[in-house]
Amino acid sequence: MKILNTLGGAKRLMLSASILVLTLLMGCYPDQPEFVEEYDVVYTNYSPDFNFSNSYTFSLPNAVLKLDDNRDPDAPPEFIDAKFGDVILANIRQNLTSKGWTEVDEAADPQIVILPSAFDTQFLYFYNPGYWCWYYPCWGWGYPGYSPGYVTGYQTGTVLMQMTDPNGVENEVVPVIWTGTFNGLLQGSDANIIGRIDRNLDQAFSQPPFN
């Protein structure tokens, strides 16, 4: 470089040192999250056509379905570890009953059926409804008035809750009236993960339309 060649040795040294120091000060992404909790994100969406302010009866399965794209939907269902699954179910139960909803057996014609599931790899919301044929009729899903989007992940865990309205089934498509998702890194102790599940599911039930 002509400019640098015209500079003396001391000047070149000063210029080089300045560039080095300034470059070291830079960085595209300073202030990154420090704790695994800071990577947690909660997403909810719902049908604007459904009245959530009423009290409903609802049913929950006894375990949280483990979703795996590599498993045939017709194969026997698999469930996530009960130490996490029970926390998810207890949280959903607690949040809904605190809003005046009543849990009933799935055989007692509940007004709302909750489908809790979890997965730990790349995945779409629009997974095969056949995974739930062991629990209730093999309906397809519809999202009345909204689109739930999708999430993908790598080394992440996602808890997906879908609220379905079996009284609204048309053409064997059941309306999914609410979708709640918690996504975060699969890192930390069991106690840490359980605490994060509890905290983030509480957050999901504090967001519209439940707030």
């Binding site: 400019i3 000047k11 000063m14 300034l22 595209c28 990577y39 049908s47 992940g153 967001q207």
Partner: protein
């Protein structure tokens, strides 16, 4: 587009640096968000660098170019954002990496003195990369918005051919296809080398 602009800038740099009087400035830049930039960043940016080249057509007037890199970042804490029926909550981190590429015209008020005030105007483009992180998800928006950058400052000669520089800039960065307008103020200190 980016490659063409960088190549053109380097060609201009080498072409005009081989003769006549020139000034080369390297400055540290502190950025202050203003306008819509303040909607994304409340914090001062302490990470900035500028490179300015002046080719003196006359004793007092120079043309040249200016480039640099300014990084704004902000930890917005836990946020809950609702749009229609959708609600997202999590810890929000915003980042802006800004690379201006400007042609400049500069006027040096008293080139015979050790203390030389100057005023400059830069016109060109800024490559902006605005990133909004929430959880593990990142929304990235990039663009090359039009930029106007007035600047005032002064050079103080400390040795033959070497001066200290202090200046203040306003970076008006227009909105782009997906980017909002992202203006900022800059306070710069550094060195100027002349031949």
């Amino acid at each position: 587009m980016k490659r063409v602009l960088i190549t053109a800038s380097l060609l201009l740099f080498f072409a005009v640096s081989s003769f006549a009087q020139t000034k080369f400035a390297l400055t540290y830049s502190i950025g202050f968000p203003t306008g819509e930039t303040s909607d994304f960043f409340s914090k001062t940016s302490w990470r900035g660098i500028n490179i300015d080249y002046h080719y003196l057509l006359e004793d007092n007037f120079a043309i040249g170019f200016s480039t640099g890199w300014q990084v704004f970042s902000d930890n917005r804490g836990f946020v809950t954002e609702t749009s229609g029926t959708e609600t997202v909550s999590g810890f929000r981190y915003n980042y802006l990496n800004s690379f201006p590429l400007l042609a400049t015209g500069s006027y040096f008020f008293d080139s015979s003195s050790d203390l030389v005030p100057f005023a400059s105007l830069g016109l060109g483009l800024t490559y902006n990369e605005l990133e909004e992180d929430i959880g593990l998800f990142r929304n990235t928006r990039t663009g090359w918005p039009f930029t106007v950058r007035p600047e005032i400052g002064m050079d103080y000669e400390i040795n033959y051919g070497v001066a200290l520089r202090a200046s203040v800039r306003y970076n008006y960065v227009a909105s782009g296809n997906t980017l909002p307008s992202l203006p900022s103020f800059g306070v710069n200190v550094g060195f100027v080398w002349s031949n």
